[in-house]
């Protein structure tokens, strides 16, 4: 598995040297950004069992932070870093407060509060015109280091891999193991003496901050930000990517991001030929429902449990042979 990932990563790193297609690189960059976003979602849903319906708000906070900093001040690396710090602070505070309010209650409450709170952020972005320019949003210049699309492509690729490795370590750490124990059986974990709420809030904060970073990268890649970053669609993207790719696997989130973004691109092109493809999301909605119902582990989970079964059969056969 690791070998496959390394080969794919190496291929993606080298790709710009052998192939030149601006559209493809923009698309791949988008996939890297959404992979980070979806992985942050997976940390919540897949590893801790928390359902958020307002993940867009962290994404949006990141996108607007960078946009406003670049627009109001100079588009330099210094202000860029300041905007990133601002994003981290804001997303950490918001996710901490939301977690504190709802994570001690039934799982419905977190989903509900995040949903309504992200609705509030959307309204805020629409109404606070002096800061956000309302619905239409605004364009901004980015630090010169990010102007070159290929450089930015590498940066996003690097960050995606870094976040992947970071979360891999995080979820395998003692802390991450407790989180997974919470997902499996919250009461038992509590009765083992773990303060479940602390772990859940930690997951909520880490996830919120990473989603904010994804938002920053997204806005920089577009050099534009508008209220769409706070809409339900963004949250739905994260949900579709994580669920279809496979929850609790991290790789699933990346694969899901790839599938959704490629399909989006492809189906949008098809929409010119038939209007039904403008509603491409409906297909994913149906697939999503079927996946939740029949393959709750998603693509990666289902495939790996299949191959695990095969391995087991293989092992049994081996034993039989040896016995014979």
């Amino acid at each position: 598995m690791t070998a496959v990932i390394l080969i794919v990563a190496a291929f993606l790193v080298l790709l710009p040297f052998v192939y030149e297609s601006r559209n493809l690189f923009i698309l791949l960059t988008q996939i890297f950004v959404f992979s980070i976003f979806a992985m942050s979602y997976d940390l919540l849903l897949g590893f801790t069992g928390i359902v958020s319906f307002g993940h867009a708000m962290f994404f949006g906070i990141g996108a607007y932070s960078i946009g406003i900093f670049m627009k109001r001040f100079e588009p330099t690396l210094g202000y860029f870093l300041l905007a990133v710090l601002m994003t981290i602070a804001l997303t950490a505070i918001v996710s901490f407060v939301v977690g504190l309010l709802t994570l001690r209650l039934k799982s419905h409450f977190y989903a509900m509060l995040t949903l309504s709170l992200s609705g509030l952020f959307l309204v805020l972005a629409e109404k606070w015109r002096s800061m956000t320019y309302g619905n239409d949003g605004f364009t901004f210049r980015v630090p010169e280091q990010f102007i070159d699309r290929t450089h930015f492509y590498w940066l996003c690729l690097f960050l995606m891999v870094a976040v992947f490795l970071l979360l891999k370590r995080f979820t395998n750490s003692p802390l991450g193991r407790v989180m997974q124990a919470i997902r499996e059986n919250e009461q038992r974990t509590e009765s083992l003496g773990y303060h479940v709420l602390h772990y859940k809030i930690t997951a909520s904060v880490v996830s919120g901050v990473l989603a904010g970073i994804a938002g920053v990268l997204y806005a920089v890649s577009l050099r534009f930000v508008n209220t769409s970053v706070f809409t339900m669609d963004i949250t739905l993207d994260a949900l579709l990517m994580t669920i279809i790719g496979g929850v609790g696997t991290l790789v699933g989130a990346i694969i899901g991001a790839g599938i959704i973004e490629f399909a989006h691109d492809w189906l949008t092109a098809l929409a010119k030929e038939h209007a039904i493809f403008e509603r491409w999301i409906i297909f994913f909605g149906i697939i999503y429902i079927l996946v939740v119902m029949f393959f709750p582990k998603g693509i990666v989970g289902t495939l790996s449990s299949l191959s695990w079964k095969k391995k087991k059969q293989h092992a049994v056969k081996k034993e039989e042979k040896m016995a014979g």
């Binding site: 409450f109 989903a111 509030l120 309204v123 669920i243 409906i282 909605g285 939740v292 119902m293």
Partner: protein, 286 residues
């Protein structure tokens, strides 16, 4: 004074629409422990289908009945094929109902197009009554009356009929209800159907009130309904009507005085309730 009365009527009308949505949410939650994130989708479907029938037949009443029937049918389908297969698994339930919400709103756009659709009340509900200096817009009064009627009807069913009794008993102890020889699955189906019907009714009534309908309206109202359900206490029917009126009124007054903050105020209310009384403002559980 006139202004206050007008804002109050406005708030009550909005409150009643939210109530129609929240009533089903809270009953379904109380009985089945399912929070239906697709409820807003049923609301929007009620609006589209009802107004379509209204425009085809010219009869607003036919539109209302059509909307309610649409709600019933969608409710049965949702309960039977979407929610029943994942009973007992909270995370799966929450996820699947949101997926349904997505499909429902996209389907609306496929069938009726992605643009807003205009709506206006029938002639006999247009205009207003003047009582001295007070002007009461007929359609708003109509919404309030319908809301009160539905509240009374549901209250009657819950208190005076066998099925209502079973629903209340089911909220308290599902196992015991079954041990007494009652098929709780049928009760679930009934409650889901009724909840969906009320949501659809709310949707079709909203159309002429706001003048336009669009596919996103389901989500907008669902957010208000969630706030109401939390404030009123999850599973508490009476609490939901009081909370809906509270949210409707606060929305209407805030929209007049500080329009930008109206959602924020309701959110704040919800946050406070979550901190101090997660079981809801009104009464104990059950």
């Amino acid at each position: 004074m006139d202004l206050i009365i007008n804002l109050t009527i406005n708030g009550l009308a909005t409150g009643m629409l939210i109530f129609l949505l929240a009533a089903g949410l809270t009953l379904i939650f109380g009985l089945m422990d399912v929070l239906n994130f697709a409820h807003g989708g049923l609301f929007a479907w009620g609006a589209y289908s009802g107004l379509w029938i209204y425009s085809q037949t010219g009869s607003f009443l036919a539109g209302i009945i059509g909307a309610i029937l649409t709600g019933f049918i969608l409710g049965i389908i949702t309960e039977r094929w979407i929610i029943k297969p994942v009973y007992g698994n909270h995370v799966q339930q929450i996820l699947i109902t949101l997926g349904l919400m997505l499909v429902l709103s996209e389907m609306l756009k496929v069938i009726w197009g992605p643009n807003q659709i205009m709506a206006s009340p029938p002639d006999y509900l247009k205009g207003s009554w003047e009582l001295g200096s007070i002007i009461i817009i007929k359609y708003r009064a109509f919404i309030i009356l319908v809301g009160l009627f539905i509240f009374a009807a549901v209250q009657f069913v819950l208190k005076r009929t066998k099925i209502g009794l079973v629903v209340r008993a089911g909220v308290m102890n599902k196992e015991m209800v079954q041990s007494l020889g009652i098929n709780i699955q049928k009760v679930f189906m009934f409650v889901f159907m009724m909840g969906a019907g009320m949501a659809a009714l709310g949707g079709v009534l909203l159309g002429p009130y706001s003048g336009v309908i669009h596919a996103g309206m389901g989500m907008e109202f669902a957010i208000l309904a969630f706030i109401v359900v939390v404030i009123g206490g999850m599973g508490n029917f009476k609490g939901s009507v009081l909370a809906a009126i509270l949210v409707g009124l606060s929305g209407s007054f805030m929209a007049y005085y500080v329009p930008d903050l109206s959602l924020a105020v309701n959110m704040l209310l919800m946050a406070i309730v979550l901190i101090i009384r997660p079981q809801g403002l009104f009464g104990a559980k059950g």
